[in-house]
Symmetry: C2
Subunit: 691 residues, 2 copies
């Protein structure tokens, strides 16, 4: 009896070794995973086949700039699990996949060992079979040193007169297993059916503090239109405060037709400056700079000076066009025409008039639109911009962004794109999957403990954590959160501490440091006055501003690696709903924080926190010290349940580094030295230990 | 300016409407989801596009026996979510996918409504545009009644002299929206890139009580080899006890060469019956019946009688071949030859001799092996077997099972396959994904509360719950769980209640009802005596047996839909680690159970349970009644925290149906009548309410 295999049978028989649970992967490898430069990238998988055969496996990976795969041997970690890792030392994308094979020699050793340990001493046949496997292996090994032990072993165990006690030692020699694993039979190697991708971005794509300001408000002369040169003046201070990215609104010429007044629904008066989001007039469009802000050279100078201060400049890219934009004359077919031949304005909330047309991506000439948006982006990249804040990307085709980001990153893998707009859930996730480095978080809308915990848990766990980087802005020019309206200094401190310690990516919009919280009375959550429509000039400093706190927190974030990640956050139960408690820890336990915030800016709140000690690498029996970086006080805690009292008058939070005391032989308590790279000393060394 | 699109741009622009989070799906649709006949199958997805355009969507589905798709309109459920469902009224597999489209008329209505509500009354242009959309829609609608409202509406709102207050009512008429949704523009419809699959199996694939026995032990005459006709005699009792499936070990002729004695390591003595797993001798192989058990006709009669008792007969299929199996002579090339020309025995645990050869699936003639295994399976299907218990499927190629199950189910979609063997995790999951209806659970190895909770949580949640159906056997012929060794009746009752109430699929192996728990002293967890090697005859009944409890529990399972599912289990905290508490509830809250088990068979255990009331559809303020079906007592409970005391002398568990009393106008307490379909009355109506 001998039947031929159908194609289906043949295909199924070829899948003798199988792969599952390959992690990390987004939607089974359909989309890339995101990581930061310099991280070690760990891949795990289940690899299995029928029977008791022993397997070998390797992770193979290749940077997009390379031609051939590199291999990292995978380590068996029990059950069907395997692991390996490699360093992400280049920006851009890597492909990775897994190869596995059946290792006949290891299989033979495994069975032989079991027989030997069960007392079986009649192993002549086994040794003969092993000698034959060793000879097969020898043929696969290049001539040289590695062949010697194989040839010797085959000869000795193949000799029936050799004592069994000696043959078994030779047969089970792990050196043979290693050689076999290093030279698998190519005919027996199988690979995952697909390859996976990891996109490597600069550190700032995942860890940065942003500051947003309007250049036109930066003049120190009251009523005078600020310029890019005025922004230059602010760089040393922003660096001193610890900001990494300076976010600018659109800086292009602003339309005159339908220009808005001092609110989105009011008429223009003379001298009204208009919304920077209504791009374009006779002086130019998306590749021009509003002349009152300065010249292209001024912009280049700003970028250069910012980079010298280790600050990246992020430019907001909006696709809105004022009716005066050059496109309207040059490419009228790009805009939607109405039944009477007029152009359609952007839909606005009811009662708000519109000062812009929107591109109609359904027009036949859409490829030209895509190419033009790419040209603008590359124009500003050529000027030195390496961060783009995309205004409402949900309003343009997802495919366009996918194409554009791919085009840009092919040549400039260091460019970062922030999706600035709170669309619905699914489209936001899709924008992250197709390449946006960061997405604006709904953090400003989350006020209560339950809301904050649910939001952070959602974005920090599961598949989302592999590609979605939420950006926690405390406030934005068009959104004054309800908890900041008429807010006390405590309210602002609370929101700063939460954003900066929960999320590695956070930002503030200027005025926050002076706790500006005056809202328009139309329910729009707009600021009044609003910098979108008029100049809002501010002094350099105000007594009691939040700047010292901002500086301290940015320094602490930079010094402590546990605060530079999102996926390591754990929330702990508290006895008081106004107290929120969470911790962060590095994998090696060398850096850990416990943070407790009183969400009530107006009252003292007290209660117990119930720490999940195992999430902090702590045990119930040992004392640990918590050092509050805000007050420079240290307490010794023990066990899960600990008392906390937070008075907004003094400090709304405990922002505590955790250390475990080591009892030296002298009997004195000493602290484990925790010196993260580049840590600036925080205050003095005065550590008062209160019980 | 007019540029052509590259193929990449074109492809990305075509993905204007996108789909995500399609559920249920296994590995993004690579493997089918499993469901039971008669269930309603609900599908949800995120469907989204850029902009504010309104979408429409439909779920399309097709049974494998059909040629064209049916459509179920999807309902928008907020954010980007859509849902639809259809009835699974045929066995076999259904394909499903989703189509969506942009609805221009609904988009226009949506924008018009916003303008109207914002007070805008200058809508002439909008009405003109709407009239044009209505005319386009009219062209898509077949001639007939549905066209009339469209033509009328277009005419009226297109008339500039028509009053705006009347035009708006006509324009926003939901009848127009419905027609537009019913007749989408085919040019604008997009579908998910792939289709998904759901495999529909008989109810017993997911809900059944199994009983395993050895036919050869069933004679009532001491020392006499039992027959299939003896098994026939037991059917009425098994039906009375409430079992659905009768599992038989292999019933084929047993090899003589190397036949095992009364233990796996002892030599044969005359009259030793051998292990049924050593299949084959001169009398036949896998398609023959051991003559001392009876004939093929006896087997047919047994199957027929079992079906008449609504019992399915499950046959264990092992691929082991004794050295006397006909295959060894007919197809010696199917077996692995050793260096000396002998055949390789199956690897056994150290110290255990082997009585079987294993098929070498690496041989060149593997297609014949696959075809032969399919032939055997179909042979027994032709005899009336519709459940196969596959012995150690992990030892044969996964692809072979994939192919075999597909071949069988194409013609007999009612056949059920149980993967009987506890392999490693990944391969077990893969076997379930490629088509095994059920997989043996590691339940017999889970003793503590933490182990039980972790095991059940793993298999009842996430993607696993979509395809993996664990089978909770209390014990098997080759595994006497440590907690049953020398067990008291209480220990057996505990394990029965846990298995039968945690899992819709559970089974016992004969002897369990008489709490047999004598183990071999070699650490193998083998029974002593072991029915695998010798006859173990038992009386019909033993005073104090577990049969009344088994009957009660099987009746209760059948009467209560909440006990027929696995994915609805919730564990509740208890103050005593020996008390495990869990609940099950139907989606409509009409049937709910709270079960508390004292895991300690030897001592009274008491403590508090902390119910998650929301998981029971209860509120803290209302009293609810729990009716213990084991003792026929009823208590009134209120709130989350309730006291429990369980004495193994009386009952090791509270197995409680939950009811919410309704206060009628008379002021008396009455019970909500809960009458699940086919419920047999459990004891009397004596409901003593203790506080």
């Amino acid at each position: 009896m001998s039947l031929a295999a159908t194609p289906t049978m043949q295909r199924m028989n070829d899948d003798r070794i199988r792969f599952a649970d390959i992690a990390p992967a987004v939607q089974g490898g359909k989309y890339p995973v995101k990581r930061l430069l310099g991280e070690r990238f760990a891949v795990s998988a289940s690899i299995f086949r029928d029977g008791d055969e022993q397997l070998g496996a390797a992770l193979r990976f290749m940077h997009e700039s390379e031609k051939g795969y590199q291999h990292a041997p995978m380590k068996f970690v029990g059950d069907d699990g395997w692991q390996a890792s490699f360093m992400l030392d280049q920006l851009g994308s890597y492909q990775y996949s897994i190869v596995a094979w059946t290792d006949d020699l290891a299989t033979w050793q495994h069975a032989l060992k079991a027989r030997w340990e069960a007392g079986d001493r009649e192993l002549l046949l086994e040794f003969q079979e092993g000698a034959s496997l060793l000879r097969e292996l020898t043929d696969r090994v290049p001539r040289g040193a590695a062949r010697v032990p194989l040839i010797q072993a085959a000869m000795l165990i193949g000799d029936p007169s050799h004592p069994v006690e000696e043959s078994i030692l030779i047969a089970l020699n792990p050196v043979l297993t290693e050689i076999s694993n290093d030279f698998p039979d190519p005919a027996k190697m199988v690979a995952t059916g697909q390859s996976f991708q990891v996109v490597v971005e600069p550190t700032r794509a995942g860890f940065a503090a942003w500051y947003q300001l309007f250049p036109r408000s930066q003049s120190l002369t009251p009523g005078k239109h600020g310029t890019l040169r005025d922004v230059l003046r602010r760089l040393p201070e922003l660096r001193e405060l610890g900001f990494d990215v300076l976010l600018l609104p659109p800086i292009h010429p602003i339309g005159l037709t339908n220009r808005k007044g001092k609110s989105p629904s009011s008429d223009t008066e003379p001298n009204d400056v208009g919304s920077p989001w209504a791009v374009g007039n006779w002086q130019g469009g998306h590749d021009a700079i509003e002349p009152s802000l300065g010249s292209i050279d001024d912009f280049r100078m700003l970028i250069g000076a910012a980079h010298a201060h280790h600050i990246d400049v992020a430019l907001e890219l909006t696709l809105h066009c004022s009716p005066d934009h050059p496109y309207v004359k040059e490419c009228p077919h790009w805009f939607k025409q109405r039944a009477d031949g007029s152009f359609a304005y952007a839909e606005q909330p009811p009662g708000v008039h519109s000062d812009v047309y929107v591109l109609d991506f359904d027009c036949n000439d859409w490829p030209s639109q895509w190419q033009e948006i790419l040209r603008i982006t590359q124009f500003w990249i050529a000027m030195g911009v390496n961060v783009f804040c995309i205004d409402s990307p949900h309003s343009s085709p997802v495919g366009m962004w996918d194409w554009l980001i791919t085009q840009v990153k092919r040549k400039q893998p260091d460019v970062i794109f922030l999706a600035n707009g709170m669309g619905k859930t699914a489209i936001s996730h899709e924008l992250a999957r197709i390449g946006f480095s960061q997405c604006l978080s709904a953090y400003p809308m989350k006020s209560t403990k339950a809301e904050l915990e649910a939001h952070v848990n959602e974005v920090s766990t599961g598949e989302l954590a592999q590609y979605f980087r939420p950006h926690f802005f405390t406030n934005t020019p068009d959104y004054l959160p309800v908890h900041l309206e008429h807010g006390s200094k405590a309210a602002f401190a609370i929101r700063l501490i939460l954003a900066a310690s929960l999320s590695p990516l956070y930002g503030i919009y200027s005025g926050f440091e002076f706790y500006e919280g005056n809202a328009a009375q139309d329910g729009s959550r707009r600021y009044q006055p609003s910098e979108i429509y008029e100049l809002v000039q501010r002094p350099n400093e105000v007594p009691g501003s939040l700047k010292p706190l901002i500086k301290l927190i940015n320094q602490t974030r930079r010094a402590h690696p546990s605060l530079q990640r999102l996926d390591n956050v754990t929330f702990h139960a508290t006895s008081n709903p106004q107290l929120i408690c969470y911790s962060k820890m590095t994998e090696d336990h060398s850096d850990r924080f416990v943070i407790v915030v009183n969400l009530d800016p107006s009252k003292v709140q007290e209660g117990f926190v119930e720490l999940q000690l195992e999430k902090l690498g702590l045990t119930p029996d040992r004392v640990f010290l918590i050092h509050d970086l805000l007050t420079n006080q240290t307490w010794s805690w023990k066990g899960a349940r600990n008392y906390v009292r937070l008075d907004p008058e003094t400090s709304s939070a405990h922002f505590c580094n955790v250390r475990v005391p080591v009892f030296k032989e002298t009997g004195h308590v000493d602290l484990l030295e925790v010196k993260p790279v580049g840590v600036p000393p925080l205050g003095g060394e005065r550590l008062a230990i209160n019980s």
